[in-house]
């Protein structure tokens, strides 16, 4: 059995290889259900990380993925890619235009609360870190099967807060307010 190819850092110069115009816009700005997802990537000194790559993956508004694993994938919104990339700015900020995803099946007969999977890469990060974004106003968060695996005092690091017309979630790589990262 061949072994996994090891990860290596994405380095500081990925932009011209991986970032494409519009790659952070999963929907058009005029989409009637569009939301903004914003935040900053922060290091262990509380400093912004200006050279991070943030990727998201999410279901469509009905909770479907355009992927064969999803039994309903043929009904997935064909106009919605589900995937986006944003390179952080000098102040560590990232931004996406997307829609709020629907609920997706979880383990057993559970349903997950609406969530967005996030991957973070950067110079100084030898491999990707993964986390999730949940929505602060979602009553479904209470019985989300993945949030339930996170110690209650750390769950807030996964829950975006409303900020004007945006949902804001900072990603803290290290320290007292460290984001919960997943082994997935």
């Amino acid at each position: 059995m061949p072994g996994q190819t090891p990860w290596q850092t994405v380095g500081p110069f990925f932009h011209y290889g991986l970032i494409r115009k519009g790659g952070a816009d999963l929907v058009a700005d005029c989409h009637d259900r569009r939301i903004r997802v914003v935040g900053r990537v922060i290091d262990g000194d509380g400093q912004p990380v200006p050279d991070a790559l943030v990727e998201i993956w999410q279901a469509d508004a009905a909770g479907r993925y355009a992927h064969p694993d999803d039994p309903d994938h043929r009904a997935a919104d064909p106009s919605f890619p589900g995937f986006g990339r944003s390179a952080t700015e000098e102040d560590g900020s990232f931004r996406f235009l997307t829609i709020r995803p629907g609920r997706v099946a979880g383990p057993g007969n559970s349903l997950q609360a609406p969530h967005i999977a996030i991957g973070i890469m950067a110079r100084g990060m030898l491999k990707r870190l993964t986390t999730r974004l949940y929505f602060g106003d979602a009553p479904e968060n209470v019985d989300d099967p993945i949030l339930a695996l996170v110690p209650p005092e750390r769950r807030d690091t996964l829950i975006a807060k409303r900020d004007g017309d945006a949902w804001r979630l900072d990603i803290v790589l290290q320290g007292a307010a460290e984001t919960v990262f997943f082994d997935c």
Partner: protein, 234 residues
């Protein structure tokens, strides 16, 4: 609904740690708490597929023909297969590549290495694997370049690779090195990989891939996380 089959976990004997102090930038960017293991749900076992033109634009397989003239440097072919841990080809998945030019300089505003840019070389491409998981690029062998990690630090010549694979869980970003490069043994980024796994990042020179009177050929096979046969979580 039946639970999706999970993917294998990250293999700690293959993967670098987040914190590797010899690579100084990891010290403030590595989490201090262990990651929390979660079961694979549809979110982790699905991923973007089949929309590459929309996400990435048309394929760019030959990095030596993106400009009016030919780039300076040693022309090379880099080819290989994308497989999973079960030795199954990963078909129809995007492989992205970016790199420095022959002088060791990136087309990037923040690269301050005082080596020349090449007006005929950008150094970025992407292709989609065929039904056998195969990919092939034509490019220029990149130069080594200095960095400020420690005194007289030089990165070995390398190509950056990015793969999505079939699922959010199969994402891989890595670097390919060249056989016989003396800088590999003293590079903290390469040596963050556990001993025994580092050799997987070193391409193999292959006469069969070499184009006569045109370009040297290298093979670089890439192995993504495989899927388990049963839905049981450990």
């Amino acid at each position: 609904m039946a639970a999706p089959l999970p993917y294998n976990r990250e293999d700690l004997a293959s993967q670098p740690p987040s914190l590797f102090p010899a690579y100084g930038s990891t010290v403030k960017r590595a989490p201090s708490q262990a990651p929390i293991a979660i079961p694979h749900t549809l979110t982790e076992t699905s991923g973007p597929t089949g929309t590459w033109d929309r996400l990435m634009g048309p394929a760019v397989a030959d990095l030596t023909r993106q400009h009016g003239g030919e780039p300076i440097g040693e022309r090379i072919v880099v080819a290989g297969r994308v497989l999973d841990e079960n030795e199954r080809p990963v078909a129809n998945t995007v492989v992205e590549l970016w790199q420095a030019n022959a002088a060791g300089r990136y087309v990037h505003g923040k690269d301050q290495h005082p080596a020349p840019l090449d007006p005929n070389f950008t150094g970025a491409g992407h292709v989609v694997t065929d039904d056998q998981g195969r990919y092939r690029f034509v490019t220029i062998k990149p130069g080594a370049y200095p960095w400020r990690n420690h005194a007289n630090a030089w990165r070995p010549a390398h190509l950056h690779f990015s793969l999505l694979g079939p699922a959010f869980a199969t994402r891989l970003v890595t670097q390919m090195y060249f056989p016989g490069d003396p800088l590999i043994a003293i590079d903290p980024i390469a040596n963050a990989v556990p001993p025994g796994a580092l050799e997987r990042l070193i391409a193999r020179f292959e006469l069969g891939v070499t184009e006569p009177e045109w370009a040297l050929g290298y093979i670089f096979d890439i192995v993504l996380r495989g899927r388990r046969a049963t839905p049981m979580e450990p």
